[in-house]
Every structure is written in structure tokens, then in C-alpha cells.
């Protein structure tokens, strides 16, 4: 299984790409651990995670083809 992961705002800059693909990741906790290995200091940043465009709270199982996003605080307007 494979999930599409999008990074926005300063997290896109930190991740080095706006979009990546992760294989064999079964839930969002596992994904965050993998991403934390690539983005130094991720734990200190304020952000939310969405799965298929819905913000999640707590660990959420992932399915093949899901679209996960790492969203810094919104700053529109």
C-alpha cells in the first residue's frame, strides 16, 4: 500500500518537496514518525494532519491511495 503525502506552507520548504509518497505505512502515527525522521524538529512545529481532506485528531488508520496532508496554522486573508 502507498499513501500520497502533501506538505504546505513552511513544511513544504522543510520537507524539500510539496508532495511525497510513502509505502507500507499503516497509520498516521507511523507516518508522522517517518516524516519526523526527514524534517528536523517537526515535533516542535504547530501543525495539523488531514486524511482525505478531513482534519484528524489522534492516530488514524491509513489505506492504500489515501491523501494525507501536513498543514501549518492557516494564514489566509
Amino acid at each position: 500500500m502507498s499513501v500520497r503525502v502533501l506538505f504546505f506552507g513552511f513544511l513544504a520548504e522543510r520537507a524539500g518537496a510539496p508532495e511525497k509518497r510513502y509505502e507500507a505505512v499503516t497509520d498516521t502515527n507511523a507516518l508522522e514518525a517517518m516524516v519526523a525522521g526527514e524534517i528536523e524538529g517537526l515535533q516542535e512545529y504547530s501543525y495539523i494532519v488531514s486524511v482525505n481532506r478531513q482534519a484528524i485528531r489522534g492516530n488514524t488508520p491509513l489505506n492504500d491511495g489515501d491523501e494525507v496532508a501536513f498543514l501549518p496554522p492557516f494564514a489566509g486573508g
Binding site: 504546505f8 481532506r53 494564514a75 489566509g76 486573508g77
Partner: protein
């Protein structure tokens, strides 16, 4: 009324404000039109002056967020007839407009309160990010 355009590349022009009001305030039962436009300021941070803001967004989520805001407003303000939200994406220079909200209603009280509430929800709910670009070409995420 459904407004399909909610993202615009670069600045919202002054002409677009008049056009949006013209498109929304149709018919003869809307007595009040309330508009808010947010403009990029040349703020100074740490001795550097903002030359522009580069906006980015999560477009698929933005579309749903705009629809959600419109639904909240229509439910909260029964006199409101139309709600349009247009946000810039890409680079908007200082002195240019990056956000346009237009609300029409039967009467002014709900038009103005609904416009204010829409702008608050835009700040809170739209998945949009901004990068201040300073005159010396350095930048800062805000």
C-alpha cells in the same frame, strides 16, 4: 447563489470588486451589499520591509472550506442572499488586494454582520499559507 470562482492568480483587481458586486447584487430584493477587501501591507519586520506575499493553498480542501463557510453564513443569517469569497494564490505585491468577500442581504444589519463573520471564518478555516517576501528577497513564513 453559487459562486464558482474562489481562487484568483495574483492580486484581486479593483475592477473585479465592481464586477463581483454586479454579479451578486442582481434582482431588486437585496438592499444591502457589504464588501471586505484585504490588502498586502508593506509591514516592517526586523528592519526588512515586505515587498509582496506569496500565497499557497490546499486547493481541494479550500473548495470544501469555502462551501462550508457559505453554508454556515446562510444558516446563521436568514436575510443573506449571496456570499462570495475570492482569495489570491501566488504573488501579491504590497498595496494589492489578496482577499475579497462580498455579501448581499435584504437589509444592512445582516449584510454587515455576515460579512464580518465571513472574514473571520476565512482567516480561521481556509487552508491558505503565506510567505512574506522582503525587499532584500529574504522571506518569512507567517
Amino acid at each position: 447563489m453559487s459562486r464558482e470562482r474562489y481562487l484568483v492568480q495574483g492580486a484581486v483587481t479593483h475592477a473585479m470588486i465592481g464586477e463581483t458586486v454586479g454579479a451578486d447584487a442582481t434582482g431588486d430584493t437585496a438592499g444591502a451589499i457589504s464588501v471586505f477587501a484585504g490588502q498586502v501591507r508593506a509591514d516592517v519586520f526586523d528592519g526588512r520591509t515586505v515587498a509582496a506575499i506569496e500565497y499557497s493553498s490546499y486547493e481541494a480542501m479550500l473548495k470544501e472550506a469555502v462551501a462550508g463557510i457559505r453554508e454556515v453564513i446562510f444558516n446563521a443569517f436568514s436575510d443573506v442572499k449571496t456570499v462570495t469569497i475570492i482569495h489570491s494564490t501566488g504573488v501579491v505585491k504590497a498595496g494589492e488586494i489578496s482577499l475579497l468577500v462580498v455579501v448581499t442581504a435584504g437589509h444592512r444589519d445582516q449584510a454587515m454582520r455576515a460579512c464580518t463573520h465571513t472574514v473571520e471564518l476565512v482567516k480561521e478555516k481556509l487552508p491558505v499559507w503565506k510567505k512574506e517576501i522582503f525587499e532584500d528577497e529574504s522571506h518569512r513564513w507567517v
